[in-house]
């Protein structure tokens, strides 16, 4: 396998893992106001993500850094082209991060209610924007021959030759992301909590998951309609069909385990469902990283945007070491904090 291909896989994996890990933080936030009603319940929910959410967020930052390392032209074109959307992402991440960090600092109920609302709203918005971002990458962007583009927030709301960041397709992907991650968060809380919160989380996950099934079934024809080139990756490498099959199987398994209330198995299946979805899209897009809507020859691929081969090879070495360490201590943390979060005297980190 060429080293560029390996880096394509690494970058996709970083963002896919980000979607799974920070995804349940987003999901927890989306359902937060409904799943947890009293102050004690909300502290409990925040405690469920408390020890891990910061680490989860790093997958985005590290993924961005690795994209920069491996495909600098894509980093430059994509980040400047999605300038407006990324500013929103940054502001939303700031508000989301602050709300978790600051909410429990004061006992004042108004202070807590305020940050509760901020936490929920900005997690919802982040899920929409990240979903829409994926939609943009699938649909393609108005890349010029010089390798740059600039996308307005919206234009005609249709994926035409001058597409905006928001059109009916990307909004659809955004909503799909919200539904998927809301269920993901509910699955997580079903594992981490008990009593009333767990009951509500399971109910939300149950209803939400059927909405996801419906949206996912709609998504298949919509995706192929908006970006027929998605088939190319599968035609070129049919073995990739295992990915969409995994998506289907994982979704089926999640619903199966859900009926037996096996929360752990549901969470794992749903995570696989998210990983598989991102992977399926990536397989279809390969070797493209950014598709040009007008002239396919302007598309940025792993071949015309990769860094030098020395940089990619040496990067592979240290990345292998570094990510092994990260995976090692991340698993240690998740194992250490496994089990239900306890209600009690303890209200958060700032005891």
């Amino acid at each position: 396998m060429a080293v560029e291909t390996l880096w394509f896989v690494i970058v996709v994996m970083m963002f896919a893992v980000y979607a799974v890990l920070d995804g349940f933080d987003f999901g927890t936030g989306i359902i937060y106001l409904f799943v947890a009603r009293t102050d004690e319940e909300r502290q409990l929910v925040l405690k469920a993500i408390g020890p891990v959410w910061k680490g989860n967020e790093v997958w985005l930052v590290a993924g961005g850094g690795l994209l920069f390392l491996a495909f600098p032209k894509v980093f430059a074109a994509g980040f400047s082209g999605f300038y407006l959307a990324l500013n929103l992402v940054l502001w939303f991440l700031i508000m989301r991060g602050l709300s978790i960090a600051l909410r429990s600092h004061l006992r004042n109920p108004l202070w807590r209610t305020f940050w509760d609302a901020i936490f929920s709203v900005f997690n919802l918005l982040l899920a929409v924007v990240f979903g829409a971002a994926l939609g943009n990458i699938i649909r393609g962007v108005p890349l010029g021959p010089d390798g740059y583009f600039f996308a307005a927030l919206w234009t005609t709301f249709t994926p035409g030759p001058i597409p905006g960041i928001l059109d009916w397709f990307t909004v659809f992907v955004g909503l799909l992301a919200v539904a998927m991650l809301a269920v993901h968060g509910a699955n997580y809380l079903a594992i981490k909590t008990d009593a009333a919160v767990q009951t509500r989380a399971r109910r939300i996950a149950d209803r939400g998951s059927w909405a996801v099934v419906l949206l996912a079934l709609m998504a298949v024809p919509v995706l192929l309609f908006v970006q027929p080139a998605l088939q190319d990756g599968y035609v070129a490498h049919p073995v990739g069909c295992v990915l969409p099959l995994t998506v289907g199987a994982a979704l089926f398994a999640a619903q199966y385990f859900r009926r037996r209330q096996r929360d752990g198995a549901v969470f794992v299946s749903w995570s696989l469902f998210i990983l598989g979805s991102v992977g399926s899209v990536a397989w279809g897009l390969f070797p493209n990283l950014l598709i040009a809507v007008e002239d396919p020859s302007s598309s940025l691929t792993i071949h015309n945007s990769a860094a030098s081969s020395y940089g990619l090879r040496v990067g592979l070495v240290w990345f292998g070491i570094g990510i092994s360490l990260v995976i090692g201590y991340t698993i240690w943390v998740y194992v250490s904090f496994r089990g239900k979060v306890e209600q009690g005297l303890f209200g958060g980190p700032y005891e």
Binding site: K54, F68, K73, A76, I94, L98, Y329, P349, Y350, E351
Partner: protein
């Protein structure tokens, strides 16, 4: 003045300046927390454990603000500086990605462990966790500074046919000679910030007559470490950082010293305002021939002045650069006698009664922040008009299709958000300080406000 480039530069300056207010405290505190936690671990002393825990909470607060303001830094490379990212990604992509993989993960993961694992883990794991936190924050500094060092003094690169650069040696990039003094100087400055803040909180408690035991520990630790750090800031780290500027970036050196004309036996300007029309210093106060002596250890040595270089290579904000440099050096020079006096008082066991000194220490806390900010402005304004020194001009680096209206939009958004963030941080910081550390042996956590 209202080109996209201007707003791009202003936005990066604003967001970077604001961001660095937070990491410098966490980098500095990380060392002090490891010290306190080690004392607690080896002497089984709960007093030090409570002290470490108190500062871990402050660390966490500063870290939270550091993270949310730090993510925009990485993103802005691509968002606002697309042409620069295309040009230099083959080199600085390495160090930025390493920062994420080796440092940011470590710091973020173990901060969660430290905050939420206090009842879950034994003393050894907690001690190890603080060491990991220290390692994470210092490695983070190393990789970010390696990135900046390459922009100040590019090494280990080759130029491709399309004009972009690629890395020729990762080892060379990480052992950039520029990095040695930049790293030690910057990290020492962060330790100074941490120790000043710790000493300041201690002084506040002692003057208020509350948390007396904790206050004395904070003061002792802060003053001793502060004295070492401020001294090391001037020599050897600051001195050598200046020497390498004069060796590799003579225009920057001449500009921040206010030296317009080449002189043998150049004076050291201590005070005065650069006059850009006459190219002189108004009402100068100088130390005769001292600049030559400091740089070349010889009073008659020749130092190149600005006028020996083409004007388009001058830093485009020369007077501001001159002021930030003098603010940095001026404050740094005042810190040393202050902290040494405090150490002498401590040694003579008079510090805790010397109210004038406690007042001074308490009020000094903001000044290391001003000095580090001025220091970074010196490094970065002095790098102009280059984005990568001698290789790539700032004017060629910004995103071609992001217009000035859109950059102003985001700049205003950041300004508004950061004013809110600054107020929130100060409010919560003072709130945590007034709540104070837990009393050793007394009822813990349960009696305190949760959260």
């Amino acid at each position: 003045m209202t080109s996209a480039l201007f707003y791009d530069r202003l936005q990066f300056a604003v967001t970077a300046t604001f961001h660095y207010l937070f990491p410098q405290l966490t980098i500095g505190l990380a060392v002090l927390i490891v010290y306190l936690k080690s004392r607690a671990y080896w002497s089984q002393d709960a007093h030090y454990d409570e002290a470490a825990h108190f500062w871990t909470k402050i660390f966490a607060l500063s870290f939270a603000f550091g993270v949310v303001t730090g993510i925009p830094m990485e993103f802005q490379f691509g968002m606002n500086w697309a042409k620069f990212s295309t040009f230099a990604g083959g080199v600085i992509g390495q160090t930025l990605a390493m920062e994420g993989v080796f440092a940011f993960f470590l710091e973020s993961t173990f901060l969660g462990v430290l905050l939420f694992g206090r009842k879950k883990f034994g003393p050894f794991v907690q001690w190890m966790t603080t060491v990991m936190l220290f390692l994470g924050s210092w490695l983070s500094g190393l990789f970010i500074l390696a990135t900046n060092a390459w922009m100040q003094h590019p090494v280990a690169y080759g130029v491709d046919q399309d004009g972009t650069v690629h890395m020729t040696s990762l080892w060379g990039l990480l052992t950039n000679p520029w990095l040695v003094w930049q790293f030690t100087h910057t990290m020492t400055a962060a330790v100074a910030t941490g120790s000043f803040v710790m000493a300041s909180v201690g002084a506040y408690y002692l003057l208020s007559g509350i948390h007396i035991d904790a206050a004395k520990t904070f003061l002792r630790t802060g003053v001793v470490v502060g004295a070492i750090a401020t001294t090391a800031l001037l020599f050897p780290t600051g001195h050598h950082a200046a020497l390498q500027v004069f060796e590799h970036q003579p225009i920057k050196g001449a500009a921040f010293e206010g030296l317009f004309y080449t002189e043998s036996g150049a004076d050291l300007v201590i005070f005065g305002q650069p006059n850009m029309d006459t190219l002189t210093i108004d009402n100068p106060l100088v130390a005769p021939k001292m600049l030559s002596f400091i740089i070349h250890k010889y009073f008659g040595a020749e130092i190149k002045g600005l006028s020996d270089f083409p004007r388009e290579d001058w830093p485009d904000t020369m007077p501001l650069l001159y002021y930030t440099y003098h603010i940095m050096v001026g404050l740094g020079t005042m810190f040393i006698p202050l902290m040494l006096t405090a150490v002498v008082l401590l040694w003579r066991e008079r510090l805790f009664q010397a109210r004038w000194m406690l007042w001074t220490i308490m009020l000094m806390a903001p000044f290391p922040y001003i000095a580090t900010t001025a220091g970074w402005m010196t490094a970065e304004l002095g790098r102009q008009p280059w984005l990568v020194y001698g290789l790539f001009r700032t004017a060629d680096g910004n995103s071609p299709l992001v217009g000035s209206g859109n950059v102003l939009f985001s700049l205003l958004g950041f300004l508004g958000l950061y004013v809110l963030l600054g107020l929130l941080f100060l409010f919560l910081f003072f709130e945590m300080v007034s709540r104070g550390p837990a009393v050793t042996g007394g009822p813990r956590s349960s009696s305190e406000p949760t959260g």
